[in-house]
Symmetry: C2
Subunit: 290 residues, 2 copies
């Protein structure tokens, strides 16, 4: 039984988050007290120049090669709605040696451990290719809402890291976040069909906040567009309300996305009552990193 | 017979524009020599605070009222693809007294006459409602390409004025233009079906530049996103390459769009060989303004 309500027939009221954002001060690491406070308050923190140019280039080359080599029926490959263009490749940390290394890199993992107050493992990883000219939007959502109801993640105790592989510009569909929205759980209307994930990764129909909830959240918190050069990394809380517009510019927006979950927060049965989604979307094989 | 080639079966090479951008210095007006030079070079000019707050509010209220009162089968109303949400209302200068006044306002018309070197009339007018949360993109296009091939506008001698009714933010699907692109005519692949306009005003399938042409133009000219407060007005050339992303923010982006054509450039038979589009999209009844 969950403390949060979602995927029901009438709209639940938004509720205050129960869990802390930064879990204790048990783990030392590279983040300053100010940075932790900023993450706690906003629900995200941008690390400029987390990776240098050479690292980004090598990583990007490897990811393009991995994506190009994927079989057309591989279920880890998600295509754009109504097209064959690759939108995302999942479980990328098992497909790319460089991503696997990066997941244990102290620059990322050290910070993640500070926030989670524990060891961590990769809950989900993917590369998002938002191509130029025809990139589609990712509508507003809280990842935790999905991970709780579709995957059985018990608590808000996961950190997502989004690493820019190309320039994230104001005009090419950069990530938008509502600072402070991670303090509120927004339940969504609509029971989840079985095997929903096959469609939802292309475009979302369940787990979508109501217009009114989004208008209220935006009015309370505003919207921050994360415009940053390649190599920067955004750390953000699992319950941040976020999304991104489409991209008609010719400038692709590629991001590597790693979700670190606490080893004390491993998955149980999905709280929405559906079958668990497959392991390449939500790992049930927690191997502590580092 | 047109000097420009488009709507054909294989991709035409981009060609240099034949017409001037600023037509002579016959007409005095409020634009300085520097402003005219900037318009000539970029193909557009932003006028900050063209209208004051009170004017914008009155205008916006009137436009909302007009849109709300339009019959559901009125052909001047265009809805979003796959939805009943109003995307645009055409011929708005004949539906709204305030818009009619604005079309003859010396702040706009004075500048338009300077650029066109002649008297002007309204070729097309509309209000674009890009709603919050579900606003769809307008893909890249040159208006002149459409107006020449679908409406029979002989030359590049028209000025569009886009007036911001709401804040045009970096994140709510603001207009993007490629500065300097007005110097190049980009022909498009694909013959135009009859009555194409019924679909194209919802989402565009013909008169669309190729990926390669857009990549080349963007690489040569870059992209400028027009971020500006309510009341500002963008004057832009009929052959500017422009477009806008979708809008998932809750902040609507509403713009009033007036196209001033030179009285020396009135419509003839469409150069694409189709029947002319109706008068609410392309006026064949030129009444000089002012």
């Amino acid at each position: 039984m969950s403390a949060y309500v979602s995927r029901v027939s009438s709209e639940p009221s938004p509720v205050r988050r129960l869990e802390p954002v930064v879990w204790g001060d048990r783990v030392p690491g590279p983040m300053t007290t100010e940075e932790l406070a900023s993450y706690e308050s906003d629900g995200f923190l941008l690390l400029e120049e987390a990776l240098d140019d050479r690292e980004v280039r090598s990583l990007d080359d490897e990811l393009e090669a991995v994506a190009a080599a994927m079989g057309s029926r591989d279920e880890r490959v998600i295509r754009e709605p109504g097209s064959d263009t690759v939108r995302s490749v999942f479980q990328i940390h098992e497909l790319s040696g460089r991503v696997a290394e990066l997941a244990s890199d102290p620059r990322l993992l050290g910070r993640v451990r500070q926030i989670l107050g524990s060891e961590a493992y990769i809950h989900q990883s993917r590369v998002n290719f938002k191509p130029g000219l025809r990139g589609k939007e990712f509508y507003w959502h809280s990842d935790f809402e999905t991970w709780h109801f579709e995957d059985g993640m018990p608590e808000m105790r996961a950190v997502s890291v989004s690493i820019n592989l190309t320039e994230n510009r104001a005009d090419n569909g950069s990530l938008m976040v509502m600072p402070g929205s991670h303090r509120t759980f927004v339940g969504c209307v609509g029971e989840t069909p079985q095997e929903h994930y096959r469609e939802s990764l292309r475009s979302q129909h369940y787990g979508v906040p109501s217009d009114r909830a989004l208008e209220q959240l935006a009015s309370a918190h505003g919207i921050t567009q994360v415009v940053a050069p390649p190599g920067s990394a955004l750390l953000f809380d699992s319950n941040c309300m976020h999304g991104s517009n489409g991209n008609i510019t010719p400038y692709p927006r590629r991001n590597l996305f790693l979700v670190f979950n606490s080893v004390e927060n491993t998955l149980v049965a999905p709280f929405g009552g559906t079958e668990p989604r497959p392991g390449h979307i939500a790992s049930r094989d927690p191997v502590p990193l580092g």
